[in-house]
Amino acid sequence: MSLAQLSWPLWLVGLGVVAGLLFLLQRLRVRHRAVVVITTLFWQEAKEEARARTLVERFRHPLAYLLALLVAGLAWLAFADPIWRDGQGTRYTVLLDGSAAMARADRFDAAKDAVEDLAGRLPRGRSEVIWCGSAPQTLLAPGEDRSLLAMRLANLQPEATPSSIGRAIAMAAASRPMGADSSGTVVVVVGEAPEDQADVPSDLRWVHLPVGTDEVDDGARIVALGVSPADQVWGQVDALLTVRGGDGQAPQVGLGDVDWKGTVLRTQNAGETQYQIRGLPADGAVLHVRLAGDSAQSLASQAHLRLPKRAPIRVWVAEDARDGALQQVLQADSAIEQVADPAQADVVVLGSAQAPAKRPALRWVATEDQPQAILLQHEAELDSQDVLRYALGEFGLDRIDATEMAQTAGQAIELGAQVGDQREVRVWRSLLASDRYGLVESRAFPLLVGRGLRWLAQQAPVVPYVAAGRRLPMPLASDASGFAPAEDLLPTVAGSFAGPDGGAWEASLLAPWDPIPWAGGVASPADGLPTQHGSLFTWIVLLVLALLGLEWILFGSGRIP
């Protein structure tokens, strides 16, 4: 047992002071009172007991003294706030599920009550309460007062996020207090069962505390909302919406004020309804989807997704860079919009090596200006090898007939990459001569121009979906040369959020929770969980009250002074 407010020596000193005070009080003459002596035989004795004109009398009534000392000592002990020595022994980790699944009915309120109740019964020094919302987070650390738990629970609500119970269990299994004994840890889960119960380490004791009802809620919920680029239309995307459960009523799909005349195709199988939403404008608007009806799972019955921005790449072509083949490629590419003012351009096409470019540039250079036939200039953050590797496949450079070109040119045809102020693709102008080289007639040329301009414009890849609790996914064939601003982004809860670069995102829940049977046992005293309330402080104070009442009765009946 240890004391929270005092050290044991200090408490003992205090107890000694109290005992001394009581001793002095015991010897203090009792207040004057009338003593009725029924016979003169007792007169002498009565005179001794009720001696007049003395402040201190001899120590008498030792039982009364002991009673007073017990009352005062226990009160002093209550002030010291004793706790059982609970640094050793089984440790308890209580996990409170704060995921969106707990928003059903009064499930969460019941869970909060259960956690408070349980925390009151568990040893304070060996128990902690973890909130498992978007990420595990402490509600009550070991040794912290239970009052903090009540405060921290007061305004908690389930978050629009998948459960992090599984992570918290793994965390509890992986970490242990240094210097602790090997009594192990019992994890008590209050909420939904984790998805991967088979992955719970076998050496971890984990039980669940039933709360609310486990009945299946068949409310409709959105489990997927994602986009892909539309076929052959640069400025449009297609979306997939998957709804699980419910009665298959059509969802409300909206784009705010955006005028959209796309199509929605519906297929249904195995309890899921899929909607293909075609032809959405890729202009950065937010796609809102809400299921019809008043679903109990409101957090899962709506989803939002900010559509990608795929604005046309504005290209300005300098007078001395104009070429018939280039013009054909630019006109055929739906992603490219030619502008007349270089100030409005995202990418410029220049015809000489000398003119400094203020923007990313595709540049036709003279053969003598650079030894490489094609030279990629990139920012310092990128690795030239990675850029070359990316360009070789994506720009179609592996399809260029380098041998024939080399024979025609009379010199080696090389591909290179270097670091520069901004991105540039520099190509020998002579390669455009169709009477000498077959480049402009080959299938590699439109790839080189089209993909090259996209690389120069740093067009962000289309992020397929944004879900709470999941890292932002990148397309497999995304720009491997470094433009992935959101790769490290992880929305923790559904809703609007901003990325580190200031970009605006919308995350949806997209958590396909289905009731999962519990694999762990039910919390029971066998796991060392106390069934009764009561801290040591409470019991001591109750004892003090009882002794105080007894002492009052004894005093009132004249048994003690």
């Binding site: 003459r29 599984g166 979306a239 580190p500 001591i540």
Partner: protein
């Protein structure tokens, strides 16, 4: 103030006896003191709490003690933590540590240990634990004391969570070893799925160091578990390692699967600051050999010979049914006439190419393309070339060699008659035809070397010069004509022998039959009054020509040298022909395209618009190898027999096998797969991503293989993307096989390398640490190289005061004690009696 257990207040009613009844207080003061003490205790039982703001800061130290750290400043850190204000709470979280060293940590802090060995430094989980240990709303800061070389890679998830909570993360870069030579990566160049059994693959090793010169050795340890030895595969010497250095290797796996390679770094010069981590083990995914379905007929053993030519990277088989055929990666129709490829099979091939992305290679000579009867067949439209035979309208070109007997027996009118017949024959030729004249008179001589028939003046002059005299030795003359015609490229080749029949005997038959086999017809003209010559008739028969008799100048025959223009023409063109190459690296790769020898025969075709010309003839630019996309697949056409006589000169060309392999790869690999697969990790989960490569791709499927086999369940997350997730311990490689549901094609193999273990711990690339530094800098944290002098140097979240509370119960108990003592004092204090 709040009461946690207010129901205890009911005990307050027990104070009533102090005021009423038998035991009521005898004085007001006494009663008040006793009541107050009682009430204080009852209130204490109700657990009153005073809520207040706290200025305490919660500090979490994530201390990396893994094997990659050379020194963790435990004592200095302990002193630093001790210097923190008493009100602050500190959590000391060790990752990758054993129990030793815990004594350095101040006892007043919460001490947690993550993992029990030094072989992992899972910073992601450590930071997640750090985040979890910080109560909501608390002012807090997190420090990382680490070299940043986390086996878990960049801790995306945990850092995002801390960033979302506004808790700054600072990093004390400690324990780094400068000049530690170590291999940190070994992976295929290009996509991870690009390594195929039997096909040379480019691997790239990444070695880190500081100015040392090393030798990198690549070894195969795949068969070690089966009792086999370790085989050295490649060695690159004299590599100067200064920072991350890439070292290329060329490696060919003999079989598909998941072989384990060892990359060892041996130091040639310089010092390794920390030896013991110079060997990197990697498991690679090697895809099955490309499945080539071979449909041949004319070439005996063609499948075997094609298999030998292509090498171990291709499994060439002769399918037994159409299902097996279309399940292949590429189908080769080799010199098989159309009548041997039923229309239904052709239809299914067309369907598979256009809808399933099957690759098709049409090859062959005299039984393929036009000569094979593929005109107006379903497969014709797939081909990147047109068959010229079906539309041949031009006048066919002809080479004519006149062998004129100028022996003594031809004297007088006979030689003049022969000249007349010759003139008639030459007149039937067109300017682009060729003509030559060989005279024999005991010896042989080219009176007119082969030349265009347009040179009529010179030819006529040569004819006029002919005169009779000498013996009759015809065989060498015919041989001369044969050799002369072999190097001529014309549709028809004709030899016309003009003689009076008085010739010697010899081995004419084999020569003439051979000439006929090579497309050279031999006709004979008997000059003179004899109406018949058995010998000349035989010559014409053997040479598949005609026999003519010219008794006098009034009976000159019309020599038939050409078929009518409307007739079907043989489009197979035997004979040596030089070729030239086109196409980029995609077609030729490492093959030396400059040394392609000529062909010994090919089928003349025309390139279709949009088709890619890879090889054509040097003079006439007839396509030899052409290719194009058709539907979802790719079709290539090789206008000669890959294992037959047409490519006989190529059989000795070292690049032939490699070229054919690239043709097969290129034809089969161009978008044939319905899905592209990738695998990555997200915290303790592995994610398998399938992206559809076409609109009707179906459903993907994948399974784990190896020690933890399991089928994975994909969920569609966007119109063209599916994901499957599974929990992964990272202690061993995750081996996967993925493909399209219901597909008969070989599955794609994927590997997610293990990231925990002694070796991995000390082989984390510096790039991981660099990325961590960048992120922390951007998120408002600090990166320090030296231990700070004060905790104040580490920023902490200061958005809100931490919520705190004060339990009033003990203080109420103390109050009750004081009141009780006062009560006793009041009771015992002597008083003057009234």
């Amino acid at each position: 103030m709040t009461l946690l257990e207010p129901w205890y207040l009911l005990l307050g009613l027990a104070v009533l006896p102090v005021w009423v009844g038998r035991f009521r207080a005898r004085s007001m003061v006494h009663g008040l003191l006793r009541s107050a003490a009682w009430c204080a205790l009852v209130l204490a039982l109700a657990h009153p709490v005073w809520q207040r703001e706290s200025t305490a800061v919660q500090r979490v130290l994530v201390v990396d003690r893994s094997a990659s750290m050379i020194d963790t400043p435990l004592a200095a850190l302990g002193d630093l933590v001790r210097s923190a204000p008493k009100r602050d709470r500190a959590v000391w979280l060790e990752v990758g540590a054993t129990a030793s060293g815990a004594s350095e940590v101040p006892g007043a802090v919460d001490r947690l240990q993550l993992g029990a060995s030094a072989s992992t430094s899972d910073l992601d989980q450590a930071l997640a634990r750090a985040s979890a240990s910080i109560p909501a709303g608390a002012a807090a800061s997190v420090w990382i004391v680490s070299d940043g070389l986390a086996t878990s890679g960049f801790p995306t998830r945990s850092l995002s969570e801390l960033w979302a909570r506004g808790i700054p993360v600072s990093w004390l870069r400690a324990g780094r070893v400068a000049g530690d030579v170590r291999p940190v990566a070994l992976e295929p160049t290009g996509s991870a799925n690009s390594v195929r059994a039997g096909v040379p693959a480019q691997l790239e090793a990444l070695v880190e160091g500081l100015g040392q010169v090393v030798t990198c050795v690549l070894r195969d340890r795949s068969s070690e578990a089966d009792g086999g030895g370790v085989r050295e595969l490649a060695r690159v010497e004299h590599v100067r390692v200064d920072g991350p250095t890439r070292v290329p290797f060329l490696w060919e796996s003999p079989r598909a699967g998941f072989p384990t390679l060892e990359l060892a770094v041996e130091i040639e010069s310089g010092q390794d600051a920390r030896p013991g981590n110079e060997v990197l083990m990697r498991t690679l995914a090697v895809q099955d050999p490309l499945r080539v379905a071979y449909l041949g007929e004319r070439m005996q053993g063609g499948a075997e010979r094609l298999g030998e030519l292509l090498g171990a990277g291709f499994a060439v088989n002769e399918p037994s049914d159409s299902a097996e055929l279309v399940a292949s990666d590429v189908v080769v129709i080799d010199d098989r006439p159309a009548q041997a490829v039923p229309a239904a099979l052709q239809e299914s091939l067309v369907q598979a190419v256009t809808q399933e992305g099957l690759g098709l290679v049409m090859a062959g000579g005299e039984s393929a393309f036009g000569p094979g009867g593929y005109h107006n067949q379903p497969i014709e439209d797939l081909l990147p070339v047109e068959m010229v035979q079906k539309e041949e309208k031009r006048d066919p070109s002809t080479s004519l060699v006149l062998i004129i007997d100028t022996s003594g027996s031809m004297g007088g009118n006979r030689v003049q008659l022969a000249k007349q017949v010759s003139r008639l024959a030459i007149r039937r030729l067109l300017p682009h035809d060729k003509v030559g004249i060989v005279e024999f008179y005991g010896a042989k001589r080219w009176a007119v070397p082969l030349q265009p028939a347009s040179n009529s003046i010179e030819i006529e002059r040569a004819l006029n010069r002919l005169d009779a005299g000498g013996g009759t030795v015809i065989l060498p003359a015919i041989e001369e004509a044969y050799y002369g015609l072999q190097n001529v490229r014309t549709r028809y080749k004709h030899v016309l022998i003009l003689t009076d029949g008085g010739v010697e005997s010899g081995a004419f038959e084999p020569l003439l039959r051979r000439m006929a086999d090579d497309g050279i017809n031999v006709s004979t003209v008997l000059i003179g009054p004899d109406a018949h010559s058995e010998f000349l008739v035989n010559l014409a028969n053997w040479g598949q020509g005609r026999f003519y008799s010219v008794p006098d100048r009034f009976n000159l025959p019309e020599i038939l040298l050409k078929q009518p223009a409307s007739a079907k023409l043989p489009s197979y063109r035997p004979g040596t022909v030089a070729v030239q190459v086109h196409g980029g690296r995609g077609w030729w790769g490492e093959v030396d395209a400059s040394g392609v020898p000529g062909l010994a025969g090919y089928v003349e075709t025309r390139l279709r618009p949009g088709a890619e010309r890879v090889i054509d003839t040097a003079l006439e630019h007839h396509p030899i190898l052409a290719s194009w996309r058709y539907g979802l697949g790719r079709v290539s056409a090789l206008m000669t027999e890959p294992t037959g006589p047409g490519t006989e000169p190529w059989q000795h060309w070292p690049g032939y096998g490699a070229l054919m392999a690239r043709v097969m790869l290129r034809t089969a690999d161009d978008g044939a797969e319905r899905f592209a697969f990738g695998v990555s990790r997200d915290g303790d989960q592995a994610i398998v991503v399938a992206e559809a490569r076409r609109s009707e791709a179906g459903q993907p499927s994948a399974k784990r293989v190896g020690s933890e086999p399991a089928d994975l369940v994909f969920a569609q997350v966007s119109p063209n993307r599916w994901e499957a997730r599974f929990t992964w311990s990272q202690a061993s490689d995750a081996l996967l096989e993925a493909g399209a549901q219901g597909s008969l094609r070989s599955p794609q193999r994927l590997v997610l390398p293990a990231s925990s273990g002694e070796a991995q711990e000390r082989q984390v690339p510096e790039a991981v640490a660099a990325r961590l530094g960048d992120w922390i800098g951007q998120a408002g944290g600090r990166v320090l190289e030296d231990l700070p002098t004060s905790l104040a140097e580490m920023p902490f979240s200061a958005a809100d005061r931490s919520p705190g509370s004060l339990r009033l119960g003990p203080w109420l108990a103390l109050l009750a004690l004081v009141l009780y003592l006062l009560d006793l004092l009041y009771r015992r204090m002597p008083r003057t009696s009234s």
